[in-house]
Symmetry: C2
Subunit: 154 residues, 2 copies
């Protein structure tokens, strides 16, 4: 059900870099017929290797010039703080990622906003407004050295 050979990996690798490549061209690059490659791709999607496709947008071009990471510590007094926090994070459009981590704090939040003013508002009205948030530490990104690199599949 979920064997994955070298050809599959090559398909995934190419598709990760160019999700809109024509199946015909993909097949040429792989060295198989378009039908075969199409069947493989269908299987890779069915088996959950490919979750979808998306356009890569330029955040700066869209007025989202500030990237921040926020470490969040919660009050672990009530049992449902974690659930409530997780739920609230889902609905906040500024939050691109949120992970529960093991270590010195509880959650690491990655968010994009227009500027510092917008971040202040987000911090005050969204993050700190949540019940159970005890402490936050903000790290503003000065330079994006490596951004959204492809997964190492090949």
């Amino acid at each position: 059900m979920s064997e994955i050979d070298k050809i599959d990996r090559k398909i995934l690798s190419i598709l990760q870099g160019d999700g809109r490549i024509a199946n015909v061209e993909l097949a040429e690059r792989i060295g198989l017929s378009p039908t075969s490659v199409g069947e493989r791709l269908k299987r890779l999607q069915r088996d959950g290797f490919v979750e979808g496709y998306g356009a890569r947008l330029n955040p700066h071009r869209l007025g989202l010039g500030l990237l921040v990471f926020v470490e969040v510590l919660l009050d672990k007094t009530t049992p449902d703080v974690f659930e409530r926090f997780a739920k609230a994070v889902q609905t906040a459009p500024e939050v691109l990622e949120c992970h529960m981590v093991a270590g010195g704090f509880d959650y690491l939040v990655k968010a994009r906003v227009a500027n510092m003013t917008a971040y202040r508002r987000f911090l005050g009205e969204t993050l700190l407004a949540l019940p159970g948030v005890r402490e936050t530490r903000t790290y503003a990104v000065m330079e994006e050295v490596k951004r959204d690199a492809p997964l190492p599949v090949g």
Copy 2:
């Protein structure tokens, strides 16, 4: 040259969620002819709003079960430490993101590896092997609460 109206935003929003949608269907959803939408999209690409397209792969399905964030502090004794670190990070396939931040440390690294064993190797052979790395703090992700949310364009 770079005005962006409501229709453009809708195009970007849909395309961010489904990068492989047929232009015909996209046009239907927008309420314009396929040609018009195609022209708009071409412009959005030319003006740098769309940087490309990519398949979204499932990291766990590909054997990359462990997500880690690493805070890195550098020795700021020699002037080229930053450049060398930045360069080395580019070539490491495990590193998905790397940002220079303002605050308690210098770089925040996001990496994906198979498991803790693989992480130990990565830490020792890649990160700590770099000259100028004074200290690292590792945070292993226990739960991915929100993963790669779309940018808020609409």
